[in-house]
Every structure is written in C-alpha cells, then in structure tokens.
C-alpha cells in the first residue's frame, strides 16, 4: 500500500512537471509565425552577399473575417549565407518566418548560371522547409516574380505553384522539378536536372507572368533551354506527359489543322549496348481523341483515322528527336539515359559513367510510337 501511494505520488508529480516544459519546448503560437509561401534569390549589391526575398501572408487580411489590407508582403534580407539571411529577418519582421509552407523557390537567371546548389542546401538540410517546393528560374530579377501580377489566387507564390501544377496536367510541355527532384538529379552522375523558366510580361496593372520554357542544368548551372515542343519531347521520354494537344495537319491538299487531345500515354526507354555502340529506343504508346477539326474531313472513315495516327506519331517522333538533339548538343543527360543503362548494364556502366558527358552525345536514339486515335468525341462528321 505504501509503495503504491508512493508510485501514485510520483506519477502525479511527473504529470504536473510536464506542464512546465511547455515554455521552451517548441511551443509556437500560430499568431507568432509569419507563414512563408515563397522565396526568391537574387544577387545582392555586394557580390558576396545573397539578396533573399520572402513572401509572407498576412492572415488578418485573409479568410472570411479578413480586412482590406494587402494579403501578402515581400520582405527582403541579405546575408552571406541563406541561413544568415533567414536569421536577419528577425530584425526586419515582427514575426518569426516559418518555412514549412514554402511553395516555390525562385532563382534569377544570373544565379542559376553560377549554380544554385549552395542555396538549395538550406532547403534540404533544415527540417523546416518543405522539400516539395517548386524550383523556378526567373527570366528577370527573381524578386519581381513575387510582386503582384494578374492572378486569381491573390497570393503570387500560390498562383505560380498552381500554374506549374496546372500546366503539367493540362499541357505537359514544360518540365519542372521540386527541390528533392532537383537535388536527386544533381547528385546523380547519370542524370541532370531541369526546371521551369517563368517570364514576366508587361508592367504595372498589365503585368502578367508566363511559363516560358524548360531550363537545362548541368550539375547546378543553367546551360540551356528547351522550348515547348522540345519540352514535351523531354516529357515523352521520361514518361511524364499527362495530357496535351497534338496539332496535326489534315491529310490531303488543304492545310487545315486537327487537334488531337491526348488521353493516355506510356513510355519506356530501352537501352542496348552492342559493341561500343550505345543505343536507346524510346517506346511510346499513346491514345488520343479528336478534339476539334478545322477542316471538313470525314472522320468516320478508317483510313482517314489511320493517316491521322501516322501523322500524330510523326509529331511525337519529331518532338522527341528535337529534345534529344538539344541535350546531346549541350552534352547534358537530362533524360536519365545513364540511369537506364546503369540499371541494365551495371558492369559496362562502371567504366562509362565517369565520362558520361562524352558518351551521352554519341547515343543513338530511336523511337517506336504506338499511336492510336480512340474516338472522335461526340461528332463524326464535319460541321459543314
């Protein structure tokens, strides 16, 4: 009995103690935090320093009880390192910046050309930032992308994130990567990273942003770009095309166009080593439906559809080959061909991997495209 009571006393004391731990044990009230939704990096005036711009939301102006003030503010800070710049916010901002809701990380083209790995380390090492933030390369100054532009979301960073994600689902012709994907590609010897480039157009009220093209990185340095059709070529190869419109010309004399809406696509890369020759075959099997025709083709005929299918395959083939050519010219294996070879020929790759940038441009790429048009939507005959 006496022992029991002692144990009970002990438990009560222990429970009581726990309530006093709360002070310095990571207890953070939500209204002491500045929620960071995006970060932009530019070159500061002092060439050794970083200019960091963060976008934080102003909760009191958001939500149903929101006021009329600005819904976000951009705060700038400088430092020799990212972490220093982050800490310097405490001298500029009335709340502690809180990074888990960071949705985008923007780099100016200048910085991207010099290499973005030093900046990304913070996002991977620190437990706070989410590693799913999209990496964006800004055509102009990175901080300008965080300024207000025409959007519906109300918060520029959130609008940019939505744009990237929408684009992937609906157009699939600009590649993008988040912090983790970028870091994985950066660490890999046989694959190189890519990112989206966003361009600002117009000024003041007419300012709008545009997802422009795909940036190609060698290690962490920006060395080139893929335009939209090359971008889709890239995505065909890495099996990331989700949807999109393929425009082909009608067979026959007229130059009328037909839009084919992609329904389904699967692709595979099949590497083969014969002797010294490295070959890779891209197998794409895809289905689409006719989304619109501008001419007056009778789509109920089988041979018409067959010829459209052939044209469709040709478009895909061209896109793929254009992307490959661009990458091979830049000697940058953005597709992960190296990885595909490593998986199939681990022994051979051990010697090839060291000088992969020399071997990559020599790879012979071929395509095999299973193109099919499933249906003609709700109309078979032309409008006229």
């Amino acid at each position: 009995m006496a022992r029991n009571t002692r144990i009970i006393q002990l438990i009560i004391i222990l429970i009581l103690i726990t309530f006093f731990f709360s002070g310095c044990w990571n207890y953070r009230e939500l209204d002491d935090l500045a929620i960071v939704t995006g970060v932009a990096f530019d070159q500061a005036e002092n060439p050794d320093k970083i200019l960091m711009t963060t976008q934080v939301v102003v909760p009191k102006n958001l939500g149903s009880e929101g006021g009329n003030g600005p819904t976000f503010i951009n705060v700038k800070s400088t430092g020799f390192t990212v972490m220093e710049a982050v800490r310097n916010y405490n001298a500029k901002l009335d709340r502690r910046p809180f990074f888990p809701f960071t949705e985008i990380v923007v780099f100016s083209k200048e910085i991207a050309r010099e290499g973005i790995a030093p900046y990304l380390d913070f996002f991977i090492r620190d437990p706070e930032p989410r590693s799913q933030a999209w990496i964006i390369i800004s055509d102009s100054d990175a901080q300008d992308l965080l300024e207000e532009f025409a959007n519906i979301e109300g918060i520029p960073t959130r609008a940019l994130r939505q744009m990237i994600e929408r684009q992937q689902g609906a157009m699939s012709n600009i590649a993008s990567s988040d912090v983790v994907e970028f870091a994985q590609a950066f660490h890999s010897k046989s694959r190189q990273p890519v990112a989206s480039i966003i361009e600002i157009k117009g000024e003041g009220k007419e300012k709008e942003v545009l997802l422009k093209e795909t940036a190609i990185f060698n290690e962490d340095k920006l060395i080139g770009t893929l335009d939209r059709s090359e971008g889709r070529g890239y995505l065909w190869i890495i099996n990331k095309v989700e949807s999109g419109i393929i425009v082909v010309e009608e067979p026959g004399l007229s130059n009328d166009k037909i839009s084919l809406e992609l329904l389904l696509s699967q692709s595979k890369m099949i590497p083969r080593i014969t002797g010294d020759k490295l070959e890779i075959k891209i197998e794409v099997s895809m289905e689409s439906q006719i989304a619109e025709q501008m001419g007056d083709l009778d789509l109920s005929k089988h041979d018409v559809l067959q010829s459209l299918e052939r044209r469709q395959a040709a478009v895909i083939h061209n896109e793929i080959m254009a992307a490959v050519k661009k990458a091979q010219d830049l000697r940058t294996d953005i597709f992960g061909f190296g990885q595909a070879f490593t998986r199939k020929y681990p022994k051979e790759m051990r010697s090839l991997e060291a000088k992969w940038d020399e071997h990559f441009p020599l790879i012979e790429v071929s395509t095999e495209i299973k193109s099919s048009i499933r249906r003609t939507a709700v109309q078979t005959r032309p409008l006229t």
Binding site: M1, T5, I8, T18, F19, F21, S22, W25, N26, Y27, R28, E29, L30, D31, L33, I35, V57, P59, K60, N61, L62, G63, S64, E65, G66, F98, P100, F101, E103, E128, R130, R158
Partner: protein, 535 residues
C-alpha cells in the same frame, strides 16, 4: 488514494472497530411469535416506534361464545386496501360462518384452516418469527396474527403507487420496443420474464443495505451464464455492508472491478430488450428495487458502441453507424487535444490551404490556443450540466444562451477563434454519440488537451499509450475489458466494428458465453425456396 487519506486520519481503524461492534450488536431479535396476540402487537408497535402508517386492525370472528381474535397488521400505502376488504376480512368475518368451522385445540390449526379454506389470496406464507413479520410488513405484505397461534400468515397483496411503464428517456429508439424498466422490482422482473419465456431464466433475490433492506435481484440464464461469474456477483453483493442502497449505482460502485478507472466496468440499461439480449449472451443482470436502471456484467469496452437498434434494423446501415460511433468516440477524445498539438507544435502538418484559414481566424485572439481549448472545454461542460439539471423549459433557454452568446459573441468579440469554437462544438456533439463512455470521454478529453498543449503530439502519444495500457489491464468480472480486440477473438469481430447479419452471428461472445457457445444453427441465410426432393 482515498484509502491513503483515510488511513492518514486514522479513520480506517476507527471504523473497523465500529463495524465489528455493529456486527456483534446485531441479531438481537430472533423473537418467536408468542401465542398472546396482545403481546405480539405490543412488540410490533415498539418495533415500528409507533409510526402512524403502521396499521393494526383487530377483530374477531367465529361463534359468539368462542370468538377467534385476530389482528391484521400492515403498512398503509404499501398494501392494496380493496384486497384486504374483499379477500381477507370478508372471507374471515362472513364466509367463515358457512365453512363448517370447528374449533380444535391443536396449535396452528386455525392458521392452517384460514390459509387453506378461507383466504382467497394467491400468495400467502406462514411465518413463525416476529422478524419475518416486520420484514413482511416492510415489503408490503399484510400479516394475519391469530390469538393463541405461534404462526402468522404473511399475505402478499402489495399495492402501492407505481409509475407506469414508459419509454426510457435515456435510450430512445426509433425501431424497437418502447417499454422501459420502472422503479418496481417485481414489474421489472416480469418484463424480463415476458421477453424470455424459459424456466432457465433464474431470478435470485438478495437483501442489501442494513438500513434500507433493499431487494436486489440477480438474473441470469442457467446453462448460458458462467456459474463462476454468477457466484462472484452474488458474493460481491452479499459482501456489501452499508446502510443504504438507493439506486443501482450504489451497487455498481461497491462491486466494480476498477473503482479508480474512468471507464465503467459495469454496464447498465433501462430497456428490457437490451437486458434480455445481454442475458442471452451469458451476462448476469442485477436489478435493484427502486431503480429503473438495470446493471449487466461482465461489461466490455465495445458494448458502449452497440445499441439495441443496431440489431433491429438491417445490418448495412447499422454497420455504418457503428463505424461512425467509433469515429465520434475518437474525435471526442482527441479533438481539442490534437487540434492544440497541431496548431501550437506541428503547424507543418496542416494542409496549405487550411493553415491560412486557421491562422486568419486565430489572428488577434488574446489567449494562447491551449488556454482557449481548455477554457472552451470547461464552458461546454458547464453548459451541459446546466442544461441537464434544469427543467425542460429553462434548459432550452440555457442552450440558446450557450449557442448564441457563447458561440457567436465570443467569436465576434475576438475572445476565441472561430476554428476553436468549431472544434469544441463538434467534439461536444461527437461525445454524445457514445453515451456509455461519456464520463470517461470528458475526463480523458481534458487530459488529452493538457497533454497536447504541454507536449504536442508527443504528449498525445503518451496519453494514448497510457489509456491503452490501462484499458488492456482492466477486467470486468473475469472478462478482459478490451476483448474481443485484445485478446483478439476473430469470430467476435462480427459484432465489433461492423454488425454482421444476424444469421452470421452464430456464436455468443467468446469471453462471456463460452460454456454455451453456439446460439443458432448454421446456414440460416435466407435462400430462395429449394426444390424439395420428393420421395
């Protein structure tokens, strides 16, 4: 801990002394009925301290020369007067003259004759002890004492005011019987009999409470209930040495397995159909005179999630509701605690879109979120208590004030964030889903809120582990409290998270009805009519 305090004040020793004295001082009246009627009546009068509801009606009958003096004693209000008039006094005073009554001088002949030939009452027993006479009176019997006889007749013609059978307020059903137990033990046992037409339904009477001498009835079905459990229930009830048993809750608190646990280890119900179902699963019911709440043991944790209606309606919706009950239970335990933990410690767990809504709602509220949660929890408990105790008309105004003033004004004044009000309000509603465990729910909810605000999810994890350890250590009359979940019994999961169709519930719960395991034949699933194989 209470023991500890009591010891501290030397109470235990003091009380022990007294109780042994009490035990010695008992058994003072083993008095036999004396042949002198007057003397008996004097003793009885003294015993009842001249209370004015104790009635003595003396009269005589028989021949003028040799009248037989008798007395009826009863307590007014407990007996049916018309039956005394018509069935006791009338036969004695009027019919006896036709009965060919011959005075003999064998002792107790008169009593026997009255009992056998004159009295037109169904239920009468002979008693020879004054103590039994007193007890009989108190139970509402009418006692017939006869001059010169050492026996008396205890005639059962109780007739007191009783509440009629009505639908229990606490267990309303849409589909199912509406009748509920009342305060009268006999009616309650009859309700059970009417559900289970079987001589195996055993009803055993005990008297508990040294002052109140309350009738307690143990009901079980011989052949299904475990004899050990029945014996244990009897032993525990017989061991209760207390003044008063005013409600079945008294019994519950004296015999429960885990008096320090927030979780009840004894179930209760006001509905005969529920109790009958539990008896048929092998449980033991304890009915207490004066209480419409019948106790059932053993009580398992999952019984709190079962409702009578689950079995009366078809299994699909019942199963859905069952799952919702578990969800409601979990939410009501963890709601505020989890919310505080996430909002104050683990903001990164909140989805992107939600954090802005939450933080904009929290903007400008003066109190820390932990204090908000605990404060609102207390406010809710106060509101509930106020609403329950007040008369219906006033209770409604309490809920209006509570809902409008506290819910709306507090938010618009910026005292408490609207998300917190939503969380607390939803938790409150969720806590009504599982009523059996609602006491435990409220207590644990507060503990969880405190843990969540002190240690975040770490604290909630610790609390959860603590609860699980506690629950799995509990037993109710020999059955593991968490069964059939722990120890797992796959077959009994038929009636745990889902309610299987009745034709699939072939066995009784393993830990309770194990000695008569099968309750229905296999292959009861309804099928289209089969072609009969004719001869």
């Amino acid at each position: 801990m209470f023991n500890y305090l009591a010891k501290k004040f030397n109470l235990v020793r003091l009380l022990r002394k007294q109780s042994t004295q009490n035990a010695n001082g008992k058994k003072q009246s083993g008095l036999k009925i004396s042949p002198h009627l007057k003397q008996n009546l004097e003793t009885l009068k003294k015993t009842f301290k001249e209370s004015n509801d104790f009635v003595i009606r003396e009269f005589s009958f028989g021949s003028k020369e040799e009248p037989i003096n008798v007395a009826l004693v009863y307590i007014e209000g407990l007996v049916a007067k018309t039956s005394i008039n018509d069935d006791i006094m009338k036969p004695l005073m009027y019919d006896s003259s036709f009965a060919g009554f011959i005075n003999t001088y064998q002792p107790n002949d008169i009593i026997a004759f009255i009992d056998e030939r004159l009295l037109s009452m169904a239920d009468s027993i002979k008693v020879s002890n004054l103590e039994e006479v007193v007890e009989g009176c108190l139970d509402g019997h009418t006692i017939l004492l006869v001059e010169g006889e050492t026996q008396a007749l205890s005639i059962s013609n109780q007739g007191w005011e009783r509440r009629s059978i009505s639908e229990p307020q606490g267990e309303v059903v849409v589909r199912g019987p509406r009748e509920g137990f009342t305060e009268t033990l006999r009616i309650n046992t009859s309700l059970l009999r009417r559900k289970i037409h079987n001589p195996d339904l055993v009803l055993e009477m005990l008297k508990v409470g040294q002052k109140t001498r309350t009738n307690v009835c143990i009901a079980y079905i011989a052949g299904i209930a475990d004899d050990g459990v029945v014996q244990e229930v009897k032993n525990r009830i017989e061991d209760i040495k207390t003044d008063a048993i005013l409600e079945s809750g008294y019994i519950e608190q004296f015999i429960e397995d885990a008096p320090f646990s927030p979780f009840a280890t004894i179930g209760n119900s006001e509905k005969p159909d529920v109790v009958a179902a539990k008896l048929l699963e092998g449980r033991v019911a304890i009915l207490v005179d004066g209480s419409p709440v019948v106790l059932t043991v053993p009580f398992l944790f999952i019984e709190g999630f079962q409702s009578a209606e689950d079995y009366y309606s078809r299994p699909y919706y019942s199963s859905l509701v069952r799952i919702l009950r578990y969800m409601g239970f979990l939410f009501s335990l963890y709601g505020p605690g989890f919310f505080v933990a996430v909002v104050a410690f683990h903001q990164e767990l909140i989805p992107d879109a939600l954090i802005i809504t939450i933080s904009s709602a929290m903007e400008g509220t003066p109190f820390p979120v932990a204090l908000e949660a605990i404060g609102m929890g207390i406010v809710f408990e106060i509101l509930r208590e106020a609403g329950v105790r007040l008369p219906k008309a006033v209770g409604q105004s309490v809920s209006i004030v509570g809902a409008l003033v506290l819910g709306d004004a507090v938010v618009s004044a910026g005292f408490v964030s609207s998300t917190m009000v939503i969380v607390v309000a939803f938790t409150a509603i969720a806590s009504f889903v599982v009523t059996s465990h609602s006491d435990a729910e409220s207590i644990i909810r507060f503990v969880m809120t405190l843990l969540g605000s002190a240690l975040g999810l770490f604290g909630i994890t610790i609390g959860t582990i603590g609860i699980l350890i506690h629950l799995s250590a509990l037993r109710s009359f020999g059955s593991p409290y968490l069964s059939p979940l722990a120890p797992i019994s796959w077959l009994d999961l038929k009636d745990t998270f889902l309610r299987f169709p009745l034709w699939a519930m072939i066995t009784r719960p393993k830990t309770i009805g194990w000695n008569n395991y099968q309750r229905e034949s296999l292959d009861l699933i309804p099928k289209p009519p089969q072609k009969k194989k004719d001869k």
